[in-house]
């Protein structure tokens, strides 16, 4: 016990006698900043330049200590902010009607519930059911549905153009098209109820897709034959990454119309649909679940 007391006393003497942290050395001359590598061409590493031809992954970006250079941090934060903003944006009331689309809404009450209750996003609310039954054309070959999905930004961005181009592409192929509608707080399977209420032979939902880093403006399209509640993912054909840097809307519209036509002639969709004869026209989209690559762009520019 007395040994412990002695030890504590000895330690406490040092408290008075010594500075617990020795004074720092004089400020050094700070060397010029570390090499920045992303992503302007004049500052890219050789490795990053070579990689850019093969991948959008951020490689060859260097490091400070074990962490990112400031430019990389800002690029990352900008990409993250773009993605989060896309998810958080709500389709404004009146937007659909202002663009000549029949407005529909799922059973979801608000944005948070939309994220937490996918089951409610797959069904129409009562007013929408009434509106569809009253105002929409019945028995068309193809029922197009524009929807917010996980990015209202994409819906309001290239969504309208995709819808118009898709409608035109269907008409060119001699397919009749239902009243264009726009659904708020919508999940993919909402197309089943919409399509069955208007007795369409094929339903197509064009909706904002879950954003990736820096890509809040992508749309996905899901096409289903004989739409009705109870269809599963295996019954659908899909196309994703529809935007200027991925599959351009015009190209996607033409391919989607081709898919719809194939479904009408084969009387099926999804895993049962044979696309071998269409591989040339469909290109990469003939593969189920295909995702086109997207170019990575620098988001932050600060004038010198």
């Amino acid at each position: 016990m007395s040994a412990t007391r002695d030890l504590i006393r000895a330690l406490q003497r040092r408290i008075v006698a010594e500075d617990p942290l020795p004074p720092p050395p004089p400020a050094p001359v700070i060397p010029s900043p570390p090499h920045r590598v992303f992503p302007t061409p004049h500052s890219r590493s050789r490795y990053a330049t070579r990689a850019a031809a093969h991948t959008t992954a951020l490689v060859g970006i260097g490091h400070v200590g074990t962490r990112y250079a400031t430019d990389v941090v800002l690029q990352f934060q900008a990409e993250l902010a773009v993605a989060h903003q896309a998810v958080a944006t709500v389709l404004p009331d009146g937007w659909a009607a202002a663009h000549g689309l029949l407005p529909l809404r799922s059973r979801v009450a608000d944005h948070r519930q939309f994220l937490l209750r996918p089951d409610l996003g797959r069904r129409l609310d009562e007013a929408s059911v009434d509106r569809l039954q009253r105002d929409a054309r019945k028995g068309a070959d193809v029922q197009p549905i524009l929807a917010d999905g996980l990015s209202a930004v994409a819906c309001m961005g290239s969504g309208l153009a995709l819808l118009e181009q898709f409608t035109a592409a269907c008409s060119t192929r001699g397919l009749s098209v239902g009243t264009p509608v726009c659904a708020q707080f919508a999940r993919v399977w909402l197309e089943d109820e919409v399509g069955s209420l208007v007795r369409a032979r094929v339903a197509v939902i064009l909706l904002g897709e879950r954003p990736g880093l820096g890509t809040g403006d992508g749309l996905s399209a899901y096409v289903v034959h004989d739409p009705k509640i109870g269809k599963t993912d295996g019954d659908r054909n899909m196309m994703s990454n529809i935007h200027a840097r991925g599959t351009p809307p015009a190209q996607a519209a033409a391919r989607l119309a081709l898919l719809a036509e194939a479904m009408l002639s084969q009387g099926t969709s999804g895993v049962g649909l044979d696309l071998t004869g269409l591989a040339r026209e469909l290109g990469d989209a003939a593969r189920r679940g295909y995702r086109a690559g997207a170019e990575r762009v620098r988001l932050v520019e600060v004038p010198r």
Partner: protein, 453 residues
């Protein structure tokens, strides 16, 4: 069996062990979606109080999916180590929690009782633990495995290098892989999620990864995470497969939705033991994640933590080299925010380790969940402190194929430095030889992908 507790004079009654387990769970949006969670915080504590008095024997007798209805329940029950079970069967869950946390209960002791535990016991214990309890208990467990290198030794933190590419461009995959190796990542596996789920494509990527490892003499293993049936066909094509992968679910019905069964996995494991390219003895790789059973309506009214533990009961049959929970991947309808994702990661790590698995974690979020990047970085440090076997690693944490945010190449050396952990020993020797990572810090060639040819 007593399924009642009273708090401030109000009696809470529960109809079944399954209901008690569900309502004792920490708040999770997925349990709300399944409509199995406690209706308020007080009922949650009442359920925990009831759970704390149940014995492990009672939990064994009341699996959340009945023996008659589910092959996973039958397999766990029929293969349980009776001697190990006898050592703990009369403890209540509350006593079992305390016994685990006792200083004199060592990792070796925990390892000796692991074969006698059912998944429901691990899940029940996790429900009575705080995050720090989960970390202390998880860090005690020792699970050491070996393929071409050794994972899970004390003081080590490994990483899966995940060089995914949206079109499986081989050059693109290798460019990401070389960058990751130059940051000291990849000692758990070089694992690619393929965009195309075909045997030819799987074999092609495996050959490319193997070529990179052989050319540079890297002591690790490769894996392409296609469906197990696709990998079995790829093995027939004669490719160098380091680990065989499959996603698992916590019920027979959930596994059917994944296109697998016990019989199929038994067959796959046998095939891999004969045709795989690693030294072994651990050659399998599994991924899990809370919510996967509910997403295929295969949850049988049970909560997602208990179902997750049941994935581990399935996984341990195959003595895997790697098991990781992909904790924030399936979206906010299962784990809404940073608090829920953090909690789930620590629960899964503890439950897997307690059941004897080399648990890693894909600490991640999708861009529609409300977890911040700062919260995700904090979780990586918590996991390392809890003794997590490995984390993921990607360029800037960004998966350009699956579109979600995980651990970055830069995070792995950062977390190692913060927590004083080192790579797997064989890999560490390779890193030192290349000048990438020497002792506790970066070497001359750290972060220079040209060091890998």
């Amino acid at each position: 069996m007593q399924l009642t507790a009273t708090i401030r004079g109000i009696a809470y009654r529960f109809a079944s062990v399954k209901e008690v387990l569900a309502k004792a769970n920490a708040p999770k949006s997925g349990d709300e979606l399944a409509a199995v969670s406690a209706r308020d915080p007080v009922e949650r504590v009442a359920a925990r109080a009831v759970l704390s008095r149940l014995t492990l024997q009672e939990l064994r007798e009341n699996p959340v999916v009945p023996y008659e209805d589910d092959e996973l329940t039958r397999m766990v029950e029929d293969t349980l180590d009776e001697q190990a079970f006898r050592a703990v069967k009369d403890l209540t869950v509350g006593q079992f929690r305390e016994w685990i946390l006792e200083t004199r209960t060592t990792g070796a002791t925990l390892r000796s009782i692991a074969p006698g535990l059912t998944p429901e016991m691990a899940a029940a214990t996790a429900k009575l633990m705080s995050n720090m309890d989960l970390m202390i208990a998880g860090s005690k467990c020792q699970v050491v495995v070996r393929a071409n290198n050794t994972l899970g030794l004390p003081g080590r933190l490994s990483s899966r290098l995940q060089p995914n590419h949206p079109t499986d461009d081989i050059e693109g995959i290798l460019l990401s892989a070389r960058e990751g190796l130059s940051y000291g990542c990849g000692d758990a596996v070089l694992g690619v999620n393929p965009a195309t789920d075909s045997a030819e494509s799987t074999a092609e990527i495996l050959r490319a990864l193997d070529g990179l490892l052989v050319k540079n003499g890297v002591p690790t293993q490769s894996c392409v995470l296609s469906h197990v049936t696709v990998q079995m066909r790829a093995l027939d094509l004669g490719c160098p497969m380091g680990l065989m992968f499959q996603s698992l679910s916590g019920s027979e019905k959930g596994n059917r939705a994944f296109g697998i069964s016990l019989a199929l996995m038994d067959e796959a494991w046998e095939k891999m033991k004969h045709l795989g390219a690693t030294r072994g003895p651990n050659v399998m790789y599994f991924e899990t994640g809370q919510g996967s059973a509910l997403s295929s309506a295969a949850h049988h009214g049970a909560d997602q933590v208990t179902l997750e533990a049941r994935c581990y009961g399935f996984a341990r049959r195959y003595r895997p080299f790697l098991v990781n929970t992909v904790v924030g991947f399936i979206g906010p309808e299962y784990l809404e925010n940073g608090a829920q994702i953090t909690r789930a990661a620590l629960e899964d790590h503890f439950m897997g380790k307690l059941l004897g698995l080399p648990m890693g974690c894909d600490a991640c979020f999708t861009y529609h969940s409300s977890m911040s990047q700062d919260e995700l970085e904090a979780l990586k440090v918590l996991l390392a402190a809890a003794g997590c076997t490995y984390l993921m690693s990607l360029p800037v944490g960004d998966d350009i194929m699956l579109n979600y945010q995980s651990t970055s190449f830069h995070d792995i050396p950062s977390v190692r430095a913060l927590t004083g952990r080192r790579p797997a020993p064989e890999f560490e020797a390779w890193l030192a030889d290349k000048g990438i990572w020497i002792g506790d810090g970066p070497g001359e060639r750290f972060g220079d992908p040209e060091v890998v040819r």
